[in-house]
Symmetry: C2
Subunit: 232 residues, 2 copies
Amino acid sequence: MTENPSPRLFPIVNADVALFTLDDALRLRVLLIQRANRPDPGGWALPGGLLKPDRDDSLEAAARRVLADKTRVELPYLEQVATFSGPHRDPRGWSVSTLFYALLPADQVPAVAGSKTESIAWVDPEAPGRALGFDHGLMLPRALATLRAKVRDGALPLHLLPSHFTLTELQKASEAILGRPLDKAAFRRQLKSSGDLAAVPDLFVRGAQRPAQVYERAAGYRFGDGHVRNDT
Amino acid sequence: MTENPSPRLFPIVNADVALFTLDDALRLRVLLIQRANRPDPGGWALPGGLLKPDRDDSLEAAARRVLADKTRVELPYLEQVATFSGPHRDPRGWSVSTLFYALLPADQVPAVAGSKTESIAWVDPEAPGRALGFDHGLMLPRALATLRAKVRDGALPLHLLPSHFTLTELQKASEAILGRPLDKAAFRRQLKSSGDLAAVPDLFVRGAQRPAQVYERAAGYRFGDGHVRNDT
């Protein structure tokens, strides 16, 4: 790595990403990377890396590049959470890091691989089970709160689900993010006013009582454009 | 200004601030500065400046310093909106700027002065009436949307009001931010459940029908901790 010629004048600029998905039991999970490089080799952290002005057109582009490098996946949805800064958060010097969260469809989890030198782990964002480097222990709850607020304000977490899903799976995904159960009747009533879902013609899966219609994301659906409210 | 020795490796890092207040008619206003320095001398912009790693402990501290330098006021409330970035937003090179919004009590407006070389203007944030430099024309609506969302979610804009105010003035301030009228009975009902206000003993002002109780911020009040909802 090129050393900063003048760390007193030019802070380090990073992009970090909290990549969320659902596991097989539709529980919310976030990706951690075991770092191979300085600083803090062997330590666990959110995936992230230095902005490269000669390669990146924006901090968001840097976040996408870093995550593609580290995980081999392209992200359908990425959103800025907040920017963290200060002289002591990174041992390399005064640093700025813009945190994003991203949503990975559950059926793409197997495609996520560590690099040759870095291990990965999918952990419970509320109980990651290991100390995180830098100030990532502060970042992760902020990312979770931002995702939650979005779902509470009515965003359907379709970018976390596989390409085809049932309404029961959609409700479970919303509940996993919010951390509390939702009323089924009210949830379905709200979905009816949403143009975000499209029924897949003639596709059903066996349900507890009767076959359940299979849905997919409506064309042009974008996380966070929805108007359902989940605060009842 | 020291030139960046390696702009391809180290982006410029800025802090910019949308400083909101209320004018005498309780209309929402935002501060613009007419720049004296490169780039864009003579152009209008939100107040902002370069992060100084040798002086600032965080981007927020940089925002407070910049605003104190440019306006001679200390801010009671400052919050991050988002970070803007890219190779073309600043003619000096690849740059990152973290945008904050801040709230200035209406009775402190006269204390805000330009510097020897820079003029200021208080303008309607929805119709600033002049082109803004950099990408500040994108920043301003984002700052306004963040402030609005906070008030819609129940934050009382007490940091925009003078130290003493009536409930009618508080409602007018909320309406100025939201850009729409609020139902008086519902607004007052919601205020009753709020611990954010303290009646000033024996202090009343003449009202349209009867004397109106004068209030002040409760001790420890912090914008955004409130729980009133204004989305009815």
